[in-house]
Symmetry: C5
Subunit: 154 residues, 5 copies
Amino acid sequence: MRKYGVADTTFSRVDMGSVAINTIKKEDPEAEIARYTVPGIKDLPVAAKRLIEEGCDGVITLGWVGKTMLDKYSYLATSIGLITVQILTSKHVIDVTVHEDESEDLEKLKEIAIDRATKHARNLVKLVRDGKNSLTPLAGKGLRQGYKDAGPID
Amino acid sequence: MRKYGVADTTFSRVDMGSVAINTIKKEDPEAEIARYTVPGIKDLPVAAKRLIEEGCDGVITLGWVGKTMLDKYSYLATSIGLITVQILTSKHVIDVTVHEDESEDLEKLKEIAIDRATKHARNLVKLVRDGKNSLTPLAGKGLRQGYKDAGPID
Amino acid sequence: MRKYGVADTTFSRVDMGSVAINTIKKEDPEAEIARYTVPGIKDLPVAAKRLIEEGCDGVITLGWVGKTMLDKYSYLATSIGLITVQILTSKHVIDVTVHEDESEDLEKLKEIAIDRATKHARNLVKLVRDGKNSLTPLAGKGLRQGYKDAGPID
Amino acid sequence: MRKYGVADTTFSRVDMGSVAINTIKKEDPEAEIARYTVPGIKDLPVAAKRLIEEGCDGVITLGWVGKTMLDKYSYLATSIGLITVQILTSKHVIDVTVHEDESEDLEKLKEIAIDRATKHARNLVKLVRDGKNSLTPLAGKGLRQGYKDAGPID
Amino acid sequence: MRKYGVADTTFSRVDMGSVAINTIKKEDPEAEIARYTVPGIKDLPVAAKRLIEEGCDGVITLGWVGKTMLDKYSYLATSIGLITVQILTSKHVIDVTVHEDESEDLEKLKEIAIDRATKHARNLVKLVRDGKNSLTPLAGKGLRQGYKDAGPID
């Protein structure tokens, strides 16, 4: 049976972990789900690694990033780490990140977070359950998570 | 028989995956081609790794990058990841990236994407099929993908 | 029995190592604690690696970063290194960093350092002793270390 | 018998690969030389890795970098990759890079490229053939490649 | 018997390698010392790796960095590489770096270089010979290399 990992943080101002779990349950009701909560984004790579080690076929991480240049450097280091985990395990770790400077409006920020977590949870299920061509009909379609789709050119 | 991998994204606004596949088919008609579609550029390194693990001799990745500094950090993390995949597998992963800020004109952007994907698909076939000296006659010639060649100095 | 590692620096202007040790002792009185002091932040990843190799179940690192762009690049390299240690060992290395430009007021800077070291030492104990769901009740709650909590949106 | 690897690109506007080969032949006439030409700098790390795998004792890579911030990010990713190849193989990969913004004058740029490739090809021969103390008489002497030496202070 | 590695460059304008060697000899007279001279900072990680492979218990690297943004990117790539060497070998590689823009005054720059190399050579001896608690009495004391100590807050 498939098993999904959900890694989230206490730093985040929106409970994206629950959003992801609910979406996965709806999309793949028979699957098992494991959750791992860490303080901040730099702790997500090891959480993803450990979730994979306990049998997850794929992981979604839910990060929240502050506004300063240092937050952005932490984002960069985390991104490199999450990619490294994927390379070493050959499993997908889909990275949902919300940046506090994406909107001044907190309600809008929450909407972005929920939309992004929902859509990427669906992406994870598709990739894990249906494989490498499950998203191919949408290739080049300009899809966006957190915002409305840009669409294909022409 | 040779096998090529093509990894593309749903974020892209141009279907560069199909462009690459058609080019590879024309250049090396007997080869097998596997496609892997992921949400965005940060998912490309693991897609390339998995394509290599299922037997691809080389991979072309087709990424589309937004305009913000964060998009550029994602580009940097992805580039490091794609290079790491190549180092660990000793296979070529040729990285086609189109940046949304390369042109304000969407038609121009599409032309850049198609030209770059086509030329780099040819490069991949040459390297995989004909080996390390296949491009040597063109060394130092100032070739460009997506733009017209700069040419050699003098 | 659990064993925690504490890695700190002579560069730091606050003895955060002692703060972390005292917090761990209070939170998990029976645990063993090993300390490793290095010159600066770029020496922390190997200290964390060695602490894990001598049996620590998790490590807290306590770094202090100067104000220049070069200090920030060192911070970035260190962050990547600390994440790599975690990925390779599958152990948590919780990274406490204080940046000299977080406050012009030295007393305030010291308060930030003590608060951050204390709260993250508690996080480490929770993760090491109580596992991946120990922080889940606080997921998405907008917790902060060094500052007051931002809180959840809504 | 010693074997040197030379990795260059079709992106470059100067045929630095031939410059490096001619220099190596002059400095170490009995050695074997293998050349590997790739499209751009991000393909150099895997070329260096493959040259080492086919028996090269050391490699020189010859990269050409454009003027935009994205080119510089590609330079950074490539540099990290080339260093990783060296760490994993314990072989020298000497990295010659020319940046298009080093001079507005194309003739000057070509001179820089030739001088840098020549001097670093000599450095490679010294390190591979004569070992870790071959350059020690020049330690701290402020040598430069592509420009005239800065010289030691005092 | 202990063995120390000293890796330096021909790019540097001060012979910091000799400074480090003399300091190590004074601090640990019976120890063996191996020196490795490379062209520039990006060659230091593999030099450190090779010194460790020939039996060094710890290494000090002595880098000199120019003033441009590209020099700083090379510094970043080198720093990541030196940290990676430490993580893979579990040995200390203490990184002394002098940036040309630390002072306009060449004499001052030389003083910085000598002071930094001397103090960090002592740090290396302490860590290698006396272990993880040898610097603990100085933890949080605001020590600086190349400048006068900042001291602890309060």
